[in-house]
């Protein structure tokens, strides 16, 4: 339970503090390490509403990336299923054509035999 909170809280805390960091980093020779970090994390842990809000604020970004990849790749799925149905249809059409030819030949043979038998 605790590790779950830690896993969601930590990235949120890092992001939140990262937002806040540029405000304080006037001289950015070395990356600024916030002295308020532990306090931040503790506060987030204490205030679940704030944590949830921060998490929600991040959400659209995650979804946007994923959504973009998904949308870009939908065409492959369409291609694949299209090809699958296409191949099956071609096969069935070929079978049907062969069946028709077979029926026609059988007819022809039957006619020839009956004609010859009549003579």
């Amino acid at each position: 339970m605790q590790s779950r909170i830690a896993r969601t809280v930590l990235p949120v805390a890092i992001l939140v503090c990262a937002w806040l960091a540029p405000i304080g980093a006037a001289s950015a020779a070395e990356p600024y390490k916030s002295p308020m970090r532990e306090q931040c994390e503790q506060e987030l842990a204490k205030d679940p509403a704030w944590a949830a809000e921060a998490r929600n604020a991040m959400r659209p970004q995650v979804h946007e990336e994923d959504a973009n990849i998904m949308l870009k790749n939908k065409k492959h799925v369409v291609m694949a299923y299209g090809a699958l149905w296409g191949l099956t249809v071609v096969f069935l059409v070929l079978l049907w054509l062969r069946q028709r030819r077979l029926m026609a030949e059988t007819e022809r043979l039957a006619q020839q035999i009956s004609k010859a038998a009549a003579e």
Partner: protein, 225 residues
């Protein structure tokens, strides 16, 4: 009675296609790694299993034909051979498209793709022998069918070992929950589809053969020219 069963099975198959498509696109979750493209996987796996089943059917039927010389085994072998070419084409095309989506290349000498290609080419060779072999081509094709079926595990083994000397590029996700249901229902669906295609194809092969025999008889009897 048989016809009724067949029609019922065909209806079930159509319902199955609709059902599995619903399962695939609405029920199964989106895969973490491959996202939406993983949906190709379900029918691809179904077709791959049926490719194997068709090749084995052809092999067994060919062996029976060689040993017993009964034409009905040859009919089964021919029908299974044709279906294996169809399923092989489906596996290769969908696999290639999946490869493009996942690894951005249309073809990769990955173990499974290579094995499928070799299996498909063996069955295409089978159909070529059937078509261009002239008299006695049934037996020749049967020999190829037997050799091809026995070759399947050897090809699988040698190509897999060959590929493990190269870095692995495929990541097959572990299946959980509804994904597993989706996959197995697709396999089952393709199984039913295979049998539904096999039976009329065997019938058609048998009719073709009877027609040729009848024509020979009529020619012998001098009834027709």
């Amino acid at each position: 009675m048989k016809r009724a069963i067949y029609l019922a099975a065909a209806a079930a198959c159509i319902a199955g296609f609709a059902g599995t498509l619903y399962l695939i696109f609405y029920v199964t979750p989106i895969d973490r790694l491959l996202l939406f493209n993983q949906k190709i996987f379900y029918y691809h796996i179904g077709a791959a299993w049926m490719l194997l089943v068709a090749v084995l059917t052809c092999g067994v039927a060919s062996l029976l034909y060689l040993l017993k010389r009964q034409s009905r085994h040859d009919d089964v072998a021919r029908a299974a051979g044709e279906l294996s070419v169809l399923f092989g084409a489906i596996v290769l095309v969908t696999g290639s498209i999946w490869g493009k989506a996942a690894w951005d290349v249309w073809w990769d000498w990955e173990a499974r793709l290579t094995i499928s290609l070799l299996l498909w080419m063996t069955m295409v060779a089978y159909m070529l022998v059937r078509k261009y072999g002239g008299p006695g081509s049934e037996r020749m094709a049967a020999a190829l069918g037997v050799f091809g079926a026995i070759n399947v595990p050897l090809v699988y083994f040698s190509v897999s070992i060959w590929r493990t000397l190269h870095p692995q590029t495929s990541v097959v996700p572990g299946l959980r929950g509804s994904m597993r249901v989706g996959m197995w229902s697709c396999v089952a669906l393709f199984g039913v589809f295979y049998v539904l295609m096999l039976i009329p194809r065997i019938q058609a092969a048998r009719n073709e053969r009877r027609l040729t025999e009848l024509r020979e008889q009529a020619l012998d009897a001098g009834i027709i020219q």
